[in-house]
Symmetry: C2
């Protein structure tokens, strides 16, 4: 719940966080500590993408003779937490009164450095408000952390650190461990300095250890009202870090060179300043969206920062913020890259290379299923192998039941889509030819292998598959056996087959840029791709709308009013039906966007051309009706759904689009206590909301090496200012209801073509192009 704040300040609950007092800490929040430690076992023999690091935060105190402060052990008369987004600093103020009525005030500032991802720091100021005497402090590193957030629900979790060893030297403590699964070593070092103002005696220090933790204790005489300041500086390294021999030596060396809290803070703030200037997305300081937009940007950059580029990191569904899905990677990247492509395209490239490195695993997965090409699993972790659960508990009854979501084979389509959009946006030919082409070709081979030819009408069918909508995994009575000719799948496959062929053409045209081991795809295979792409079957409803899959039209309409009356919130409609002994497969309902995903991924023009290219009549004027049909039957059981829906509504219902986006912005803010945000943010939705402002409301697309803008602001939004990085240029874009203004930074770059409402302008370095917008037809909303 957002209780207060300006555009850069969020308080209480803006982030899921356990109490930060030495009891438990979810490891990676205020991140930078990314993917360092693969290896815990989410389920027996399973892998996780991320596991907790040793907890570096423990810092507590007691008046001599009293109890160590811990939640529940003293009376908190005041507590306030605040997240300073601009500086990336978490602030906390706490006043406690112990049973002897000693009142102590504690102020903390905490950072995980954006300047150097190996550093974290905690500054603590303590004031004995109404007492004087001996104060004891304990500052430690705890290797006894465990993944406890989701353990109760999914029966997994537990301790992931083994072989914990700790020690101390004259001015620092250290702790090493190995990840239980991967055997990766990790080391944390910490230096705590106690600065005493006006005190008679210096602090004395002792070191204490137990099986899984190490700490140093200070005893110090304090005077009522006189603050003492404690700086804790921390370095963390693991065996995956590059340019590191062994983590402990690296962490000790880094700590030796680390500056004071003030120095670390200054470097950290400077790094965030530079990031904010590149990730600017402003709708006006007073606008209700401004703070949520910054919170989303902050969360995104906590998970995927410039420091991620040199890591072998993927896009975990829940960011680095919690333990949901064990850090697994799904298809969320599809919603993340479009935003990054225009901000930090190096990051998209690096994240796609994460997929490329797991292509061998994806090929094995396809081969194990008797298929050609490559099949990226629905859920994967470090090694890229399939980590999809086969059973999971119902969110309604808690009973364990078969989980068939792992049969979704469309992740390779999402990866291929991302490859092509990255190339289209950046013009990065070397990536496309080095790695992108191989991903496209492997995907094309998988789906071409799955398509069966029906000579009766010269059509190809793709049978027995699942689209994104998880409420449909088979026909009524045949749950789990898949569906035939899903519109989402078949349109995407047709598009990917054409792109794979186009990549082959580019390899032929640039033989010197192709990688040393590129093997040409046989001409006959490429001809088959082209034929399939033109003749894949789509199914339409009697009213001419695209059917979600063959047979969708025969399904039963749900009595929505009845179920709304019965349950209120229908986000869990599927499990609710199952709990009643019913089967969601019977109904014309969707958990999430499926057909509508096509309108999210393709412009109306593109989609029209694509479907017509498949030999079907398609009238773009029927798009609003298609949106209406599916949207009115969707429960938004997935956070990603709202992104796709806010997107498709932008051109048909500007008011609903605004509210849909407002909902999406609230995903991880509105009610974290009762949402699954406690298991981590929803990274796809986080980036997707930003992208709606960046690309959808501006009508931004890159086609034919032209940056095209065609803005339609939603109701309730008057202006938008953002910074784009496009083809190595920094562009500043301003959109309001009357005009578009786009300016290029100074320099020597050649002019870049920019089209506003289809009119092309050449934008030279240092120049500004201002274009008045043609008024939209006011009746266009429901056209």
């Amino acid at each position: 719940m957002l209780t207060l704040g300006n555009g850069y300040l969020a308080t209480r609950g803006a982030a899921p966080e356990a109490s930060a007092d030495g009891v438990h800490y979810p490891g990676t929040y205020l991140a930078g500590f990314h993917n360092r430690l693969p290896g815990g076992a989410g389920r027996p023999d399973g892998e996780e993408s991320i596991v907790n690091l040793p907890n570096w935060l423990p810092l507590t105190f007691r008046p001599a003779g009293g109890d160590w402060y811990a939640p529940g052990r003293a009376r908190r008369v005041h507590e306030h937490r605040m997240l300073d987004l601009r500086r990336g600093v978490q602030l906390r103020e706490l006043v406690v009164v112990d049973p002897d009525r000693r009142r102590t005030r504690l102020r903390q500032r905490r950072l995980v450095s954006m300047a150097n991802p190996h550093f974290a720091a905690l500054e603590t100021s303590i004031v004995a408000e109404n007492w004087s005497g001996r104060l004891e402090l304990r500052s430690g590193i705890d290797g006894g952390v465990s993944n406890a957030e989701t353990a109760a629900r999914v029966g997994a979790g537990g301790r992931h650190l083994a072989d914990v060893t700790g020690g101390a030297n004259d001015d620092a403590i250290w702790l090493t461990a190995v990840a239980a699964g991967s055997r990766q070593p990790v080391a944390v070092t910490a230096r705590t300095t106690v600065g005493v103002v006006d005190a008679a005696a210096p602090a004395t220090r002792t070191v204490v250890r137990d099986a899984a933790a190490v700490a140093e204790m200070y005893a110090i005489d304090v005077l009522a009202g006189t603050p003492i300041t404690i700086d804790k500086t921390v370095a963390v390294f693991c065996g995956r870090d590059r340019a590191v021999h062994d983590p402990l030596t690296a962490a000790a060396e880094a700590l030796r060179w680390a500056g004071t809290f003030a120095v670390l803070l200054a470097d950290h703030v400077a790094a965030w300043d530079r990031l904010w200037s590149r990730f600017r997305l402003d709708v006006g300081e007073e606008h209700v969206w401004q703070l949520p937009l910054r919170v989303q940007t902050f969360h995104l950059l906590q998970t995927l920062s410039p420091h991620t580029v040199d890591l072998d990191a993927g896009v975990p569904a829940r960011g680095l913020h919690g333990e949901g899905y064990h850090g697994h990677v799904f298809w969320d990247e599809l919603f993340v890259y479009p935003y990054l492509n225009l901000r930090l395209p190096e990051l998209t490239r690096a994240l796609l290379e994460y997929r490329y490195r797991r292509l061998p695993a994806a090929r094995r997965q396809a081969a194990a299923a008797g298929m050609a090409g490559a099949l990226f699993p629905w859920q994967s972790a470090t090694s890229g192998r399939d980590e999809s659960p086969v059973r999971s508990p119902s969110p309604v009854t808690g009973e364990w039941q078969d989980d068939r979501t792992g049969r979704q084979h469309h992740v390779n389509l999402a990866v291929s889509y991302s490859v092509w959009r990255y190339w289209e946006t950046t013009g990065d030919l070397s990536f496309l030819l080095d790695h992108g082409a191989e991903l496209l070709i492997a995907t094309a081979r998988f789906w071409a292998g799955l398509a069966t030819y029906d000579p009766s009408d010269d059509r190809y069918d793709i049978r027995g598959v699942l689209g994104p909508d998880e409420y449909h995994d088979g026909y009524p009575g045949r749950a789990g056996q898949g569906l035939d000719n899903c519109a989402y799948i078949n349109v995407m496959v047709a598009w990917v087959l054409a792109r794979a062929d186009e990549a082959c053409v580019l390899q032929d045209r640039h033989p010197g840029a192709a990688p040393w081991r590129a093997a040409a795809v046989p001409a006959g295979e490429r001809r088959r791709w082209t034929h399939i792409a033109r003749r894949l079957r789509l199914v339409f409803l009697p009213n001419g709308l695209l059917a979600q899959f063959a047979g969708y039209g025969d399904l039963v309409e749900l009595d929505w009013d009845r179920y709304r009356r019965r349950y209120g919130d229908l986000r869990l409609l599927g499990p609710l039906l199952q709990a009643e002994g019913d089967d969601p497969n019977r109904y014309k309902i969707s958990k999430q966007a499926d057909v509508l995903m096509l309108l999210y991924l393709f412009s109306a023009e593109e989609l029209t051309a694509l479907i017509r290219g498949m030999g079907y009549h398609f009238d773009p004027a029927r798009i609003p009706a298609t949106v209406d049909h599916y949207l009115s039957r969707t429960t938004h059981g997935s956070t990603l759904s709202r992104i796709a829906h806010a997107w498709v509504l932008a051109r048909t219902d500007r008011r609903r689009s605004f509210h849909m986006l407002l909902d999406a912005l609230g995903t991880d803010l509105a009610d974290p206590a009762h949402s699954s945000t406690r298991e981590g943010i929803h990274l796809g939705a986080t980036a997707g909301t930003l992208d709606i402002l960046q690309r959808c409301y501006t009508g931004l697309e890159v086609r034919g090496d032209v940056l095209r803008l065609n803005p339609v602001l939603p109701e309730g939004m008057d202006q938008l200012d953002c910074v784009l990085r496009y083809r190595n240029r920094l562009l500043v874009l301003h959109v309001d209801c009357d005009q578009v203004r786009i300016s290029a930074g100074p320099g020597a770059d050649p002019p870049v073509p920019v089209a506003v409402q289809e009119q092309v302008h050449l934008l030279a370095a240092g120049a500004i192009v201002t274009v008045p917008l043609r008024r939209r037809d006011p009746g266009a909303d429901r056209a």
Copy 2:
């Protein structure tokens, strides 16, 4: 010693190799297994860049009741080893007779896959020639390997694998270990299949283990004259590998999917075919250089292959072929990149990023010495920290003495030079701005900080430093205290300061391409760089030649004839003088190219402009005299020296250049038994020799985005054919005494400007440009 072979086949001794029969194996030969296992301790608390992997080769046999075959335990009546360069396969034939006169013939083919760097395979065929009966085989993995090659000499080495554990399942054996220093886990799995032709009974299998090894044993009935074939397929993974959760799971999974030897061989040969087609460098199949050139290419690609690109790997001085220098990284890359820039520029970029990742360590090294900027150590390993020895044994007396080579601070100049040449050759602006500029700026800051201003003549001095020539580390009587105004250092510094400034200009001109955290260099600092670059002091000898350093002219001439008579080979002149109680610092002698390095790194035109830019008169006509002066006083104590010298002689003495290059080609071939090649190849010399053909004899340089050729073939070489990868184009270059022919592959790339003898031609895709060469003035050789 090369005893036989065609252009792709080398036999006996072409590679340093211990006997491959389960006793000892130097780990990484027939490589691909690169930088996987950092972490052994070369010296107490020291780091190595590479350490041995578990030995996967052990495969031995015995007639039942006899002894296991091992060198020394049976009479070898025939042994022959051969390296098939084209296919990357090592062949071995062995006939042994045991004390019972049983004669057994063994043929082996061995590969480490170039198609998949995690695979290795060994195919063995055994024929009982004059006996029938029970044959036993033992095939294992040995974790008890140690670094023994250099142990005796340098007192280091030893076992680097700890926590060795082995086991077996139904069809494979496995072994895991951790590197003792870095705690990195490693795993090897092996599957041995025994194919029996015409045998009555199938083989029986048992598994045996000891503390550091695991093996499987087969017993089989053989008939005289009937061969049996044993395939051993191996997978290796370590914790540094990307897309790997834990190495053992990865190695087991990879092995499960690995094909037969025939399949692995086919993939491997296809990969080598593609590599050879990209690394072609032909002087004619009958030419005495052809085989050595292919051997050098092979060794280079064993160490630095396309698979290296995704690793965090540097350029170890001795390749992956031995334990010399503990795998440390020096400055050899300076000689390697120019060749790679025109073949596999992605590899240069990746290797320079290795340096970039160690920039923090280099900054700390500079700071620890009270300097600004960054100081790359003379010897470094995994983490980039200084691993230069402070004492080492004299190669003459074996006595330990101070080793001051670590005071060479010029590695950052070499790295900066490589950054700029890479950018100039490839036009890769993003690398220059992302990482290159930071390397250049940090180097500029180091040297600008070291330069002191002398207002008396408006000159800057750089005092107390060492150039590449290790025979001079101080003035007579002040050994180890450094020299003033080394020509190599000061010219390089002037050049680097100008390039750092130019990089800043490029950052200003392309603000959108500059990385998010680029911080502008203050204008005042850049002005100071420019001033220093123009006013650094050079010292000249009375005859006008450039002095190696200030005071060089005052040194004593050595009585070369006397020392030649006394010692014959003077390659160890420095240590010989020290053993006599003399000091090499007293004499006008050089261990290796120093001033002449400038002529290797810069064309005569560039160097002339550079020195004139520093405010000195410089007549390029005096270059031959400079070459004569220093060459006649150089002992070639470094293998790199011959590269620089063959280069500078190419334009002044074509005959000597030919012989110098022939010497260089022989470095790791001519006499491995008595050379230091047993401790590894000399990678700088290996690539440097290839580069002399590629760039020097062709007169190839890239300047102003034009590929320039100005060929002067040495005597004894009539033609040269090579493939270049230039600006993402594959070009085929033919040079002979009469003409240059350059052709571009087909495709859609725009024409590229190519200049032959300063005449610019536009080379279109699919086109051929043939240019007759103007005859050189026959008297030019000694001009």
